[in-house]
Amino acid sequence: MRLGAYAALAFVAVVLDATVAPEVEILGARPDLLVLVVVYGSLALGSRPATIGGFLMGLVVDTELPEYLGLHAFALAVVGFLSAGIWEHLVRSNVFVQCGVLLVATMLHDGIYYLVYYRNHLDMYTSFLARYGLLGGLYTAALGALVFGLARARGWRAIAGDRSP
């Protein structure tokens, strides 16, 4: 994946996340397209593009709720940095591994965000994380499986290829 394509994809993800994602909610949970892009960005391009991409995407999303400007940016930067690091130790061509990473990454992102957002209401934090974080993570992981299938079909080795350690 080229950097330009990654930037375009990130931009599209930000727009879709702000506009279309609420329309495809299931049980109140929505897919985290930003995490999806950041995680696959880290898989295809490595740590720095994923971290910077996550940070910038998060920053744009933060403008929707300026009170927490920087929070999404930080959470997605963490996701980009850690997911890039963890790929080095996993079999990347396995769909279940990819889905698992997406699930954990989504919950990590939500965990950081909700921790600050509900810092004074930890009981709500746990219930929100358990419900929307987990459901959103599963939703995102399911989309990840689709991306994996598409990558396999189109021969995108950076995402689907076996480059296990």
Partner: protein
């Protein structure tokens, strides 16, 4: 300590990138609310605003289309229901009229009436046959007269178990013995089909010249031949032309065959008025009440 940290960061660009991003994030989080608000709104309006407006418009358009399709479907269903209701109302009026006749048919000579619905009209421009939904199982027999509240329709010619064919007066071979009500002049009513105008008219044949017949005279069945009972209304004399031996008497029938939907088969007669059943008396009262309400 600072030296080691600097070396670590220089050696690990990924980590330094992440830490930079994290630091900027914390700085942003620590900004005064007003500054965050201003920056956030400016950035949001520039970056996401146009796309959000576009997407919202697209989603709303899709919703309006769905809603429009649903409303069209509902409108079509309502239109069908409305048509069905109109049809039912008209049928209800016809049935009410038939019921009135069924209950109050000639008191002095009561008929056993078998209500039937016209289910087919085989034939071309001239109605040669009518198919009704009552047959031998219901008591219909060949030769029985068929009437409507307006008057005579014809007679049953073919009977099947659950349906029958009626030969209407419009049939070319139809011939019914009739009499004028006022002058008691007898004759045989027959149809005349005019190919040029594609119209059927009716004439009374065998009327002797200078008989007492005038336009406007009511024509009823004579009962001769024993097939059709006497006294059934048939039509009205429209024109009379006297000749050397016979008269040409044109008649306009009471029944419009093309509009007949319900008929009665006269399955028998009885002397004296037929006693009404409780249900018929109740129906009659209801009909009279409805008629009074309509007049008011």
């Amino acid at each position: 300590m600072a030296f080691h940290l600097t070396r670590l960061l220089r050696g690990n660009r990924d980590l330094s990138t992440f830490l930079t991003c994290a630091a900027v994030s914390f700085v942003l989080l620590a900004l005064p609310p007003a500054a965050k608000e201003t920056a956030g709104r400016a950035l949001s309006g520039v970056v996401l605003g146009p796309f959000k407006r576009l997407t919202t418009a697209a989603i709303e358009t899709a919703q309006v289309r769905e809603e429009n399709a649903a409303l069209r479907r509902i409108a079509a269903e309502l239109m069908n229901e409305r048509n069905a209701l109109i049809e039912h109302r008209q049928e209800n009026e016809r049935l009410r009229e038939l019921l009135r006749v069924l209950v109050t048919f000639p008191e002095e000579e009561s008929f056993e009436l078998l209500p039937a619905r016209v289910i087919g009209m085989p034939g071309g421009r001239v109605i040669e046959r009518m198919e009704i939904d009552r047959g031998a199982e219901h008591g219909a027999r060949a030769g029985m007269a068929v009437v409507t509240p307006e008057g005579l329709v014809g007679k049953v010619v073919t009977v099947h178990p659950t349906r029958a064919l009626v030969e209407p007066l419009a049939n070319a071979s139809s011939a019914v013995s009739v009499v004028t009500e006022r002058g008691r002049v007898r004759g045989v009513l027959k149809p005349r089909y005019h190919a040029a105008s594609e119209l059927t008219t009716w004439q009374i044949d065998y009327v002797p010249a200078r008989s007492d017949v005038e336009p406007g005279d009511r024509v009823i069945t004579s009962g001769l031949g024993g097939v059709v009972p006497a006294g059934l209304s048939v039509g009205t004399v429209t024109s009379v032309e006297d000749g050397p031996l016979t008269m040409e008497v044109d008649v306009r029938l009471n029944v419009d065959f093309s509009k007949v939907e319900h008929v009665f088969v006269i399955t028998g007669t009885r002397s004296g008025p037929r006693p009404l059943t409780d249900m018929e008396e109740k129906l009659l009262r209801e009909i009279e009440k409805l008629s009074e309400e309509e007049h008011e």
